[in-house]
Symmetry: C2
Subunit: 151 residues, 2 copies
Amino acid sequence: MYGIPTTKSGIILRIGQCVFAAVSIGVMAAASGFSTTTAFRYLIASMGLQFLWSFGQACFYIQAWRHHINLHRTTKLQLFVVGDWVTATLSLAAACSSAGVVVLYTKDTDICSVETKLSCGMFQISIAFAFVSWFLLAISSHLMFWLLAIL
Amino acid sequence: MYGIPTTKSGIILRIGQCVFAAVSIGVMAAASGFSTTTAFRYLIASMGLQFLWSFGQACFYIQAWRHHINLHRTTKLQLFVVGDWVTATLSLAAACSSAGVVVLYTKDTDICSVETKLSCGMFQISIAFAFVSWFLLAISSHLMFWLLAIL
């Protein structure tokens, strides 16, 4: 089964989540004028949490893959499933609230064309990376939940 | 097992989703000035979809409960799980993007106190109902996924 701990695809998924979350934080932090909007600050906090979580999970997956850990005996699995779900929900919430604000800035009003010190393009890139990171986490999260149910 | 089809708690969960989604649509549609913001229009569309989906599911649950349908033989279960997940994700996305815009209106700027024709209080009530509706759908969605995995 692809994507679960003890498989290479699972490790790649987790590392992908870390990388995209880190890029999302970097691009948002580099964009000028992000700090005036709560949604953008929340995106950075949420992507920070996702980075830490996915990094920890990646370490566990690598350990499980190298030492052939028997997942039946892992009591942590329930904790991991809950943690995955909470992190994924917070990430989606952050990405969507930021996307709602960016749509307001670019489509509903002309704030982006008037306020030249706001880097709207960078906001959009950061949010796109956040969505990719969330999507990878959602895949991992569902696979872990499936694993918990069938074990 | 609580909350699955063929149980009363499952039917109550589905009807709860319908009711909260309908109230959310009603409050948002009654709020003045919602149509200028894309996020609020998207909330109405998404809650409309959730209302239709949950209503259909409620009908299926009532049928399953009355006629004691054997869920093992239900090939629709996979379709229902995917539909639940897509609807729940869209609902959370709509609720969060609207919440991001409302926080921008009330906290980051003083648009709500300046523009008196915007009913910011009603936006907040509508979004709160949307979150409750999403939360109930998330519970149903996880129970269905669990059911699919163990059957």
